[in-house]
Amino acid sequence: MNFDASLWLVFILIGLATTLPRASFIVLGNRVTLPGVVQRALRYAPAAALAAIVVPDLLIVGNELQVFNPKLAAGCAAVAASTLWRNPWLPFIAGMTVLLGLRFGLGL
């Protein structure tokens, strides 16, 4: 496939579409402040957002809901590792071992 100069325009527009939401309130700063209630509610944004990205990734296989699958098992191993031990690298080792073990060892 051939892409011409207009591809760079598309990149710049996508760049604006991703930077403006991120910069919005940081740049506006003190000129715009959110009410206290909203700020209290926003403390739940990271947990909700991380779960909204992670959970579908663990449960969906090829757009089907599949509760028993290697990704969920690997995710559980990562959760267990980060709950039980302080070592920050262990969840990665545990999760990838379970994922690749189930995929290649058991052929799931």
Binding site: A17, L42, A47, V54, P56, K71, G95, M96, L99, R103
Partner: protein, 234 residues
């Protein structure tokens, strides 16, 4: 560069370093995906530097490949990054006392991981220079890792077997961020509701299910906090 900036930078970098390993496979996968879309290495690196946003990059690639209308590509990128309006509002008080150019830079470099790591201390330290260092060090480190490994992915596109599923390490990195938050009950409820609704609503157009899931999770966590608070009073 003041010394409180440097102290902040060192602490922020140390807090983020172990998690940053999760960016590596994600950036590798991104580099490989751009090449398999048909970009030249220069175009792929150009997108990586200009856009610097994992989900928006990965989400718009199929549309670019299909030569979709530009407005649809932009709307999709916007939808995928709308969660950052919420993150930006939450972390904005941490940038009081900093210059406009510094805030634009900070805005461009804001990512899920840096947000999750930095938010708490950004809001509870009184020194603007310390806070800026605490944010910019992990943010700049993320940017560097991202570009370097995107480039390696671009160059290695032909050699890394897809079956290794290295992209799953990005999911593990998000889990590592999530687990300590979920120790507080309203946070756990926010995560459960957010995750469940995003899963059930995954077929909404433009991946709006993620946005709706985040809003539902926030509402549930806030409601749980209020109920817990009311029960504690005699």
């Amino acid at each position: 560069m003041t010394s409180s900036f440097r102290t902040g930078a060192r602490e922020g970098f140390t807090a983020f370093l172990p998690l940053s390993v999760g960016l590596v496979p994600w950036a590798l996968v991104m580099g490989m995906a751009m090449i398999s879309t048909g970009f030249s290495p220069l175009q792929a690196m150009g997108m990586s530097v200009i856009v610097f946003a994992g989900t928006a990059q990965l989400g718009t690639l199929p549309l670019i490949a299909a030569e979709a209308p530009i407005w649809l590509i932009i709307m999709t990128a916007l939808a995928l990054n709308l969660r950052f309006v919420i993150f930006s509002a939450a972390i904005a008080p941490g940038f009081r006392g900093t210059r406009l150019a510094e805030r634009w830079l900070a805005g461009h470099l804001l990512t899920d991981g840096v947000f999750a790591v930095c938010l708490d201390k950004m809001l509870h330290n009184n020194d603007p220079r310390w806070r800026l260092g605490y944010f910019l060090a992990p943010a700049a480190w993320s940017w560097l890792l991202w570009q370097v490994f995107a480039l390696i992915g671009i160059l290695a596109a032909a050699y890394i077997p897809r079956q290794w599923s290295l992209e799953f390490m990005a999911t593990i990195a998000l889990i590592v961020l999530l687990v300590p938050m979920a120790r507080v009950r309203p946070m756990l409820i926010a995560a459960i509701i957010g995750g469940t609704s995003a899963t059930l609503l995954r077929n909404l157009p433009l991946r709006l299910g993620v946005i709706v899931g985040i809003c539902a999770g926030i509402a549930a966590g806030f409601a749980a906090e209020n109920i817990e608070h009311r029960n504690k009073q005699p």
